[in-house]
Assembly symmetry: C2
Homo-oligomer: 537 residues x 2
């Protein structure tokens, strides 16, 4: 009974404070959201703004004459580009027959004249938006001025979105004066200090503009060792430009703002092969696409099994009335009839779960010289992403189809594509191998890299180099001529019977209207890759 009076006030207190507490907690958690503007800027980034061309050489020396060194000046990028056959050094008679033909294609011509202007306009708009998505202030030219008392980092600064880092390397080496001051300004983040040093005045800590000043230079420099940057406006991959300033001097540097790069490793839980050898079935999946050539496909599979009984084979099949391929370690995928060549390739690679994939055409035949271990060894030991082998015809002639690809930057008309048979260098330690840009359709490659580039399913019929063009700058490509696969003969004797499937295959593979397929490829080069024209050497 004596407890009663005590309990009432306590209850009242709880009945009041608990709801109030919850109310304020809610208020605190409902703080207004920051707003971010991710809309495209209009009219966008002019290409010149990003190119080095925007930098103008100082007028100060314009009066000093010079003599052009043609042999070097000729190598520089031109303003715009053109696809032309190079004039041969020596005009030999019968050159046309002695040397291979150079072909030039102007892609705009595949479109009707009436639609060209509109298509170019649409393409340019798409391209401008692509530039805005893929560029940041990390791509802009910055010049470090001479004779500045500022010391600062020019490369290597990264911060994760909404995280904080110390900015290393900041220092002021100014001549003696009464007061030393350094100002920092950013756009996508704020500055602060991780520690405070005596006799330094800090203004704007926690803001986009911070100022540090002191009458003692050493103290200011000690303080500068503790300057931090915190990203406040989220973007998964961008950069912030920091302006550093002291009396009469300015410097700029960039902090990259990016989520951590997540690796896609294929560390295996399986036991590696016995000492010195590779566990091929654990490391490699063979991928192919087939269309109405089951006899050839079965021959391929049976030849693979002679040497690699347990390697998984992935088959993308867009045949009409498909036949099931039976067997262990075989995965067959059925597609809509005639969906297409690169669609099938893209399907096949999308299903690979091993570290490497080996691409083969469905009419290849494995031989004792098809040593996948050699190809695996190269990708295990080098930074190459893809290594091609050689395809051997029944005539004995074999091809690696090594070709170089380069792109000359053009203006709004588009860029110029050059392909040329050949390679760049021989690989140290692998005398049968070279580095190049494109190879034949028999290659071993890192699965994650090939999946990242992909085979564009818009390419329905004949296509090849489009994959390597899409892979430029992404794939490190090599080619070795000592690992070969045979190519089932295409030679048809006049009296052999031709079955229905083969007829249909030929209609798709070598269409009478191959013109339509060429046009499709040219349309894509123009609209997708933004090319103006192509020279094939």
């Amino acid at each position: 009974m004596s407890m009663r009076p005590v309990r009432n006030p306590l209850c009242c207190l709880l009945l009041v404070t608990l709801p109030l507490g919850i109310f304020f907690l809610c208020l605190w958690s409902l703080k207004p959201d920051r707003v971010v503007d991710v809309r495209y800027r209009f009219p966008g980034i002019s290409e010149g703004h990003l190119r080095q061309a925007v930098w103008e050489p100082s007028e100060k020396y314009a009066h000093i004459s010079y003599k052009v060194k043609e042999i070097v000046a000729g190598l520089l990028p031109k303003n715009g580009c053109r696809c032309e056959k190079e004039e041969p050094v020596i005009n030999l008679p019968f050159a046309k027959h002695l040397f291979h033909q150079v072909s030039v294609q102007q892609f705009e011509q595949v479109f009707r004249e009436t639609e060209r202007e509109e298509l170019k306009k649409r393409r340019e708009q798409e391209y401008q938006q692509f530039l805005q998505r893929s560029h940041s202030s990390a791509d802009v030219m910055i010049i470090a001025k001479a004779n500045t008392p500022l010391e600062y980092p020019t490369q290597g600064l990264h911060v994760q979105p909404l995280k904080t880092i110390v900015i290393p390397g900041l220092s002021l080496q100014a001549p003696s004066r009464k007061l030393y001051r350094v100002n920092l300004t950013a756009t996508l983040g704020t500055f602060d200090v991780a520690a405070e040093v005596d006799e330094v005045t800090i203004r704007g800590d926690g803001q986009v503009h911070m100022s540090l000043s002191s009458s003692r230079l050493d103290n200011l420099n000690r303080q500068l060792q503790f300057v931090t940057y915190s990203n406040t406006i989220f973007n998964p991959n961008t950069a912030d430009t920091v302006q550093l300033e002291t009396d009469g001097h300015q410097a700029f540097f960039v902090i990259k703002i990016r989520h951590a790069t997540i690796p896609k490793l294929y560390s295996s839980e399986d036991q590696p092969g016995s000492k010195g050898s590779y566990n091929i079935s654990g490391l490699v999946t063979i991928a192919t696409k087939t269309f109405l050539r089951y006899d050839k496909l079965r021959e391929l599979i049976s030849s693979i099994r002679k040497y690699y009984p347990n390697v998984t084979i992935v088959i993308a099949d867009d045949s009409d009335k498909p036949q099931k391929i039976e067997g262990d370690f075989i995965e067959q995928y059925f597609m809509p009839f005639g969906k297409g060549w690169f669609a099938g390739r893209n399907l096949a690679i999308s299903q690979v779960t091993t570290k490497y994939l080996l691409w083969v055409d469905d009419d290849f035949i494995f031989t004792a010289n098809t040593k996948l271990e050699k190809l695996v060894n190269i990708l295990e030991k080098t930074t190459l992403d893809l290594v091609g082998g050689a395809v051997r015809e029944k005539t004995g002639f074999s091809t690696t189809f090594r070709h170089q690809i380069s792109v000359e930057q053009g203006g709004e008309e588009g860029d110029c594509l050059h392909t040329r048979m050949g390679h760049y260098h021989v690989l140290q330690g692998f005398p049968n191998c070279v580095v190049t840009d494109g190879v034949v359709n028999f290659f071993l490659a890192r699965t994650d890299k090939v999946q990242r580039v992909g085979f564009d399913p818009r390419l329905t019929r004949v296509a090849h180099s489009e994959f390597f063009i899409d892979g430029l700058g992404i794939l490190h490509v090599g080619s070795c001529d000592d690992v070969t696969v045979d190519h089932a003969t295409k030679i048809k004797l006049p009296w052999s019977s031709v079955d229905e499937n083969e007829k249909t295959y030929k209609e798709f593979r070598y269409p009478k209207s191959s013109e339509a397929n060429v046009q499709l490829k040219q349309r894509l080069f123009y609209l997708k890759n933004r090319f103006k024209c192509m020279v094939r050497d």
Copy 2:
């Protein structure tokens, strides 16, 4: 008859010079190949070498004391990382029931103790090789020293492989002296000049080390405006560090060596929709994966057709005894039975040829509120790559499943993964939309970006955020709650019959041994993404 004596000498001349000419042409074209070493360096790049940690603050100021500012210092990256539940600010009673659970997973524990050391070693080797493939001198920290007379570019220099550029911004602002000299050194290329200026001595033009000197500073600076760099050692994506030097002063800057970035645009040849509207069938493909739920799949398709009669629907199907789905604009792909969830997703997206793809689960139902035009509008107007909608249950409750993902860098043990429900900012101009890292399985996205990230086919059963984790730093993700799709009810009344397919579906989707699936996901987090542990808020 009188011509005879003249013809003989001519014939002899040709018979001699032509073979000789061809012989020398062959010699010239067979000049020895340059050799390049692309083998992995051993022992590789230490992570510290790449991290900012390698920069040591100057010892000069070590004697000056400081007071740590905890609130900022606490935000800095730690040395290593740990996955821990954060202590709640206020320890409320029944907190466990009021707030959602925080879960922590240590991935190493999924492996047997005896194999952990070996697996970590193998993973570290894979990771080192990944670092060597993906890093270059463009990632290394560089500090610009104070009070140097050198002026030079610190960012923005790019050259295509084996091509030449002018190096802009080079200048010497030295005090008066008898002779001014500037030296340039590179590794992967050579220097030269595009033009020659009087009274400047050039040594080493065309070499990796070039020296320019003059008694007249203006002339030297004019000459510096014509300095060129030519990449000579091919690599499709790397960087060269240039050392710039003058008496007593050094500076470093980087030239990126990279093939041109080839865009993958989807400029359409089709006529855009009537003024103010979007041509949805031309812009969007709907992608889904199905497994033994044809009734739900057919309901989905019929609901789509009510609003979008012509949109292409791509179906990846790994059912046993598959049923053909008939209808225009439907593409069905048949996979090996039970091949898997992410394999099916990867297959479906690999076949999309439109600019955008809409992912839906096979048990969704389109309603009048499933306005794809709204989602298209956001991707057309912003730099977002993917925008999720909201999935509405029969109860009326709808979810956007917005979640943030962050990675704390750890050491050799691996990194720490944090996921937390929530978003970052609201989008300017789109008040119902936010920016975040991951969303629900109902989203519209740029086809090329989703194809680039891909759905890892190694994830066979339940998986979701793994896609967004693989996409960190690559995908710019948004979420809008005003575009919804309905979710077919999962509520099963006790007296309804359960068909065989549904039983099998449940066995795969909710396996009794769900432990096995959790283990698979943890194995992949550990071995593939190099995570140590995960905190799920």
